[in-house]
Amino acid sequence: MSKVRPQDLTCKELVELLTEFLDGALEESVRTQVEQHLVWCPGCSEYLRQFRATIGATRKLAEEDLPQRVRENLLDAFRHWRHGS
């Protein structure tokens, strides 16, 4: 269905703004748009819930909690990602 209200955020736009939203870094008018979208959009509010749960879970992790093999795999993945391969 097409967007009836041209000033509204799409779900894709909201996802792109979510980190700044959680950091409190959005200007007021944009933050209000994000919040109003979250009020009615079940998909985006669930996405926000999962995002917050992930942040909460990773905050509890210490570096030593990672098994050596997982740590190496992750570092390897980041190295390849940074080289664009």
Binding site: V4, R5, Q36, L38, V39, W40, C41
Partner: protein, 223 residues
Amino acid sequence: MPSDTGDTGASEIMLAWKFLERGRVAPFGGHVWPTPGTDAPGPWIQPPGGEVFACRISDLPWWINAELWEVELEAPIRTLSTQVAGCRGRLLRRMVGWDDVALRAYGVACAERARDLVVSLFLREGRTADADALRQTRSPLELCRVSQGLAAEATTPATTMAGYVGASAFRAAEGRAAAAARHAADAAMAADGTPGVLEREIEWQARWIVERAGLGVPTVATV
């Protein structure tokens, strides 16, 4: 008069309304609001570096949630397009008329209003049988099914609008009232391109909430 920034500059307490998630949870901040005592307001809340946001009557449809509370905001009050903000706020009392049943009924009422609008469009297009099929629906799910069937062709204003009605009815059936209301307002906008149609829908939705939840008109009380 509010300034350009919305700051009224008034040394007043404003009575307003605030939607919270179940358990007095702030929908975006995630914190739990302290409950008022039997005869006393809850403690003042002052978010660090922030403000407390709440609704005037006309703002309510933008912020639908499970619990509705009467709140006090402390000046300076900023008046924004769909909310008001005070430097701190506290809960006064829960509006018990706004419960899970009311929330669900709100979504259904919005979907049915959208249905009535699309019925009138089908009649205008001379499609009496389609109008009757919509009118005879007896549940949000049935309304969703019939609307989506009509929307499949999406060749006329009525069939296009039927898509929004179907979305509204689907969300109403799920119990997602805010989404049902949202799609119902979109249906009205799709049906009627005249200026002010969204504002009229929001006004209707606000009136519905006021009547169902038994809200009085909030006032500004001089301290």
